[in-house]
């Protein structure tokens, strides 16, 4: 039955892929996530919208604290208290799910799309794995040290199998997992309850991500793996549910450069093989250049500039994008000093976020109009994808109207 389902899914995807190639698999609309801290409301993600197409790699790049990771966690619905997703829609294309949900939640259905923000919590959880799955930054801490790697992978496989037996039911997790088994697991926590099939699948997943001797390695504990191996195992765990969209949150940050290259190559290969979509989140423009088809540059919870790789890297408009690109050492012209962007990412406290360009305080090309009104996102001629939230998209920088230093300082002290 699950086999048949999957085949049907594949057929469906192929058919729709042929007919409507431009239909994205994921449409994020006006997603806003707020953190309600003691210092006040923090707007970590502010009306973010983007599409992810079938089989593409979409990159989100930005400094630390620009809201990249929270965006990812918001999509997969893993934002923890005191954070909360306050607005927005996450439209996920799945004809089967749409048909199942149409009766109960007509407001969450649009054609083949399902708004995961408006379906019940249990359905959102059942989507984790087969629809979305995530790779985390630090492989060392992303595995439970007291369970073998193989068992953790097998668990992920079993979670998915249980879900697939009755894919969209909120009670799917208890299928084939009765009270007796629950009690015995509870009483005997050391009892390994993974089946032979899921263990075999775990080993083949390890093999798929290029771990040598997968059968032996499956019985080892995470501390017996190297960082690169663990990140491969992490990828394997994320692949267990055969996700449509894989979210990689800084997948290479904790790894050294040679291993980084291996992991990126692995992700690229797997993405080609399985034809899944990948959202890569990173602060490393090298990773973006290597991996991505399209890029969104995030600043202060917003997407400041987006477009194809060529649009953003070769023809950047937003001074922030220029600044990020200026922070990369250039091998051809090893200038003595890099040009970092001055200052820090704002704290994103709601009270301090006025109706203005959030980057103006740090922007070398800030003009008077930047603090007068928040610039709208406008398209750039010459590319369908290239869109920028900056006044420079409209007119050239004019030094005569530059935001003076004194004025900028006054702005800053007013904020404090």
């Amino acid at each position: 039955m699950p086999e048949a389902d999957r085949n049907a899914d594949v057929g469906e995807t192929a058919a729709s892929g042929g007919a409507t190639a431009a239909e994205p698999v994921l449409k994020v609309r006006d997603l806003s996530t707020r953190f309600f801290t003691e210092e006040g409301q923090v707007n970590a993600v502010e009306s973010v919208s983007f599409d992810v197409h079938d089989g593409e790699v979409f990159g989100i790049v930005g400094e630390s604290g620009s809201g990249k990771s929270v965006t990812a966690l918001s999509i997969i619905d893993l934002v923890e208290s005191p954070g909360r997703i306050t607005a927005g829609e996450v439209w996920y294309r799945n004809a089967d799910l749409a048909a199942d949900m149409r009766e109960e939640h007509p407001e969450a259905i649009d054609g083949e799309y399902v708004d995961t923000r408006r379906v019940p919590e249990g359905v959102r959880r059942s989507l984790r794995g087969p629809a979305f799955s995530m790779i985390f930054q630090d492989p060392m801490s992303s595995f439970n040290p007291s369970i073998t790697v193989g068992e953790q992978l097998a668990e992920a496989v079993e979670v998915q199998q249980r879900a697939r037996a009755n894919p969209r039911s909120t009670r799917s997790r208890t299928q084939g997992y009765g009270l007796g088994r629950y009690l015995s697991d509870w009483m005997l926590p050391s009892r390994s309850f993974v089946s032979t099939e899921s263990r075999d699948r775990a080993i083949s997943l390890l093999d798929q991500v290029g771990i040598p001797d997968p059968a032996d390695r499956a019985d080892e504990y995470p501390n017996q793996f190297s960082g690169g191996m663990l990140q491969r195992a992490m990828v394997a765990q994320a692949l267990a549910g055969e996700p449509d969209v894989l979210i990689a949150d800084e997948p290479t940050t904790a790894l050294d450069v040679t291993i980084q290259a291996q992991i990126l190559g692995l992700l690229r290969d797997l993405q080609d093989e399985a034809d899944m979509s990948v959202i890569t989140i990173t602060h490393d423009l090298g990773v973006i250049a290597r991996m991505c088809d399209r890029v969104g540059v995030m600043y202060a919870g917003e997407i400041a500039e987006r477009g194809t790789l060529g649009d953003v890297f070769d023809r950047p408009i937003h001074p922030y994008t220029e600044g990020l690109l200026g922070s990369i050492p250039d091998l051809d012209d090893p200038a003595p000093r890099l040009q970092p962007i001055e200052g820090n990412v704002p704290e994103l406290l709601d009270a301090e976020m006025g109706n203005r360009c959030y980057f103006a305080d740090r922007c070398p090309k800030a003009m008077d109009e930047c603090v007068a009104e928040k610039p709208a996102e406008v398209g750039i001629e010459g590319s369908d994808e290239h869109r920028v939230r900056c006044v420079l998209a409209d007119h050239e920088y004019d030094p005569a109207r530059a935001l003076s230093t004194t004025e900028r300082e006054r702005e800053a002290s007013a904020d404090d």
Partner: protein, 340 residues
């Protein structure tokens, strides 16, 4: 769940600590005595022999004013006589006021104490760990509700609460057949063994709060680990995450607490049976209570079970210290050097 490193730590700590060895010896001894009680006990612990009442332990002798009633020519006469009582090897630890062998009673008392200690701790751990893990994992209002109710439990003095609950439910005693007697190895011993049911439930309900607090603290820190997020990102449900990831990684401090709680519950059981709330008469606390009336003449009736309690509790606590030093290096640093 028990990693080779844990075993290595346990061994290293054990080798370096004389107290750990002593503690383990005591615990093994007490457990062996409790399990093999029918074999080890020289007499039936409930068999009365008024002719040989209040015999002193070996090495002691005592002079007692004994009062007896005798039938003389059809009329009842009270005879007061002062007798010199010498110890006899038949009753190495003496006899109580009804002539029951103290050694056998102490041996059987170990059963009651250990069973109540283990089952009561088990019950407290199951309730407390469940409550604590749920509270710590979900935080927020769930946490507040559960832990405030735990605080309410904590506000009652545990002995008073236990007495109130025993009063409420009565002294339900479960009669458990003794396997060694059923198998015919020791047919002369009592065929069944009385388990003080209410006491077990009560000590469990009184002591779960400590487990809840420890488990909650662990869950609060474990829930922040990346592997929890990783497990959830592949679709694992909350109960699955709590069971497979939070529980095993919270087990160590719970285990250490459990050993110490066994000792605390043995003391609580003794106190309850001393006060007469236990369902069994084969209990150290009960013997202390019945010896209280004879303290002036027959001090051993109270002293022998009292010493047994002290030794058992010390042994269990030493084992608890050993586990804590071996499993929890953070605390072990200060505690270990202070103890050594």
């Amino acid at each position: 769940m028990i990693s080779p490193r844990t075993i290595r730590n346990l061994k290293a700590e054990f080798r370096g600590s004389a107290l750990a060895k002593l503690g383990l010896c005591i615990v093994v001894l007490v457990v062996a005595v409790a399990v093999l009680a029918p074999v080890l006990a020289p007499h039936d612990p409930t068999a009365q022999n008024l002719d040989r009442s209040q015999l002193p332990p070996v090495g002691f002798s005592t002079t007692t004013n004994s009062t007896s009633t005798e039938m003389v020519n059809g009329s009842l006469q009270v005879v007061n006589e002062t007798t010199e009582i010498n110890a006899t090897l038949t009753y190495p630890l003496g006899t109580d006021s009804l002539g029951r062998d103290m050694l056998s009673r102490v041996i059987y008392g170990a059963r009651t104490s250990l069973l109540v200690g283990l089952l009561g701790t088990g019950l407290a751990a199951v309730i407390g760990v469940t409550v604590g893990l749920v509270a710590g994992y979900y935080r927020g209002r769930v946490d507040d509700a559960l832990m405030r109710s735990a605080d309410v439990m904590l506000a009652f003095p545990s002995l008073v609460l236990a007495i109130a609950l025993v009063g409420l439910w009565g002294r339900a005693a479960w009669s458990v057949p003794d396997p060694l007697v059923v198998l015919g190895i020791t047919p002369e011993m009592p065929a069944s063994f009385v388990l003080p049911g209410t006491v077990i439930v009560v000590v469990g309900l009184v002591n779960w709060v400590w487990f809840a607090r420890v488990a909650r603290g662990e869950a609060l820190s474990v829930r922040e680990e990346s592997y929890i997020k990783a497990a959830r990102s592949v679709g694992a449900s909350d109960s699955f995450v709590i069971r497979k990831h939070v529980l095993p990684n919270s087990a160590t401090p719970v285990l250490v607490l459990a050993t110490i709680q066994i000792a605390a519950i043995i003391l609580l059981e003794s106190a309850l049976s001393f006060l007469g709330f236990s369902g069994t008469t084969l209990s150290w606390g009960f013997d202390i209570a019945q010896g209280r009336d004879y303290l002036a003449s027959s001090w051993w009736i109270s002293t022998v079970p009292g010493v047994a309690i002290v030794i058992t509790v010390i042994g269990i606590n030493l084992v608890g210290d050993w586990l804590r030093d071996a499993l929890d290096p953070g605390i072990g640093g200060e505690g270990g050097s202070g103890g050594a």
